[in-house]
């Protein structure tokens, strides 16, 4: 959970990009990495297989600057999307302050999206957290693909977003929607923090 240092007035939050395999979680972080100035980011760590599939996680620390007098830092993680890496997904989810669910907009990936959402709910519950209380936004990625291959944001919203989370159409490869998604989850996480729900919790 968020760590708040009242002496040095610093906040550190953990955001996890979740979703099925090849939905574009790592691409989101890679785009963010290319856009953020060097003095506001750390090294991007990718624990990946030889074929660049995420094995454990990707990690990118960014410095958001001062918000309400607090220096605010975000730790961005991705999980491996492939079904058989569930043990590592659970480890990465530990202590998450917010989740970005990156859905693959392709029609043929709809079942994988639903399975991944159910898996997220089960894994969050195993950490003793009610998924309804966890700040979350949903990104409909790959909206740049030909219309006949994908579902529209409205169709995806109907199929996946039964909790009414903020949603964002995106083309993470070219950056469309990446910034908006990060902005929305940052606001959701900090809003919860401002309500006092996440403050000074045990890690």
């Amino acid at each position: 959970m968020s760590l708040v240092n009242f002496t040095t007035r610093e906040i550190t939050c953990k955001i996890v990009y979740y979703g099925p395999g090849r939905s574009g979680k790592t691409t989101n972080l890679q785009y963010i990495y290319t856009q953020v100035p060097d003095d506001r980011k750390g090294r991007m760590v990718s624990l990946a297989t030889q074929t660049d599939r995420t094995l454990f996680f990707d990690f990118l620390p960014i410095d958001l600057g001062s918000i309400s007098g607090f220096t605010t830092k975000f730790q961005l993680y991705t999980v491996p999307g492939q079904v058989y890496y569930n043990a590592t997904r659970k480890l990465v989810l530990q202590g998450a302050d917010g989740v970005v669910f990156v859905a693959d907009s392709q029609l043929r990936q709809l079942d994988e999206n639903i399975e991944s959402l159910q898996n997220l709910q089960a894994n969050v519950l195993e950490h003793g957290i009610d998924v309804r209380t966890l700040p979350m936004v949903v990104q409909f990625n790959k909206q740049d693909l030909p219309r006949e291959l994908i579902l529209s944001p409205e169709e995806l919203d109907d199929a996946l977003n039964f909790r009414g989370h903020p949603t964002f159409p995106a083309d993470a490869l070219h950056g469309t929607g990446v910034f908006e998604t990060l902005k929305a989850i940052s606001a959701e996480v900090l809003r919860k923090l401002s309500e006092g729900a996440g403050a000074a919790r045990r890690g």
Binding site: G42, F56, S68, L91, V92, G95, S186, G196, A199, G203
Partner: protein, 155 residues
Amino acid sequence: MSTTVVETWTEEPLVRYVAQASARIVVVMTPAGQVLAQHGFTRAVDLMGASALGAAIMASSTALAQQVGETGFGALYHSGQKHGIHLAACQTPRGTLVVLTVFGKETSIGLVQLFHEEFVTALQRAAPVDQERKPILAADFESELNKSLTSLFRR
């Protein structure tokens, strides 16, 4: 070398441990990789990378231990050409903490292990049982968040 602490009760035990064990880097973190105190890093974003990896090693080795019927491994030690790392979890009233120690040729794994035990005892004595929750952000934090993100992405 800089020492920074997020929770002040960690400072005295940390400073003593660094001096006694001649450690180059020490990071005290939660199992989720949130840093409570550190010695040796100057850039916060570099520190976060090390703590994420330390927490991940600890989490994955604990999961592996459970698969072979152990509750967890006490400590991990790796030796390199110039540096060694020692990674261990401990229970405190503040919850489970993970300590990552990086050391050079000026000391040894034996000394690190010896003083690590004392460090854990000191942390257990100093840790507060519970912490008061305080209001964090002003109600209008979102306008500042928007400004920060806009400057971050230069748009």
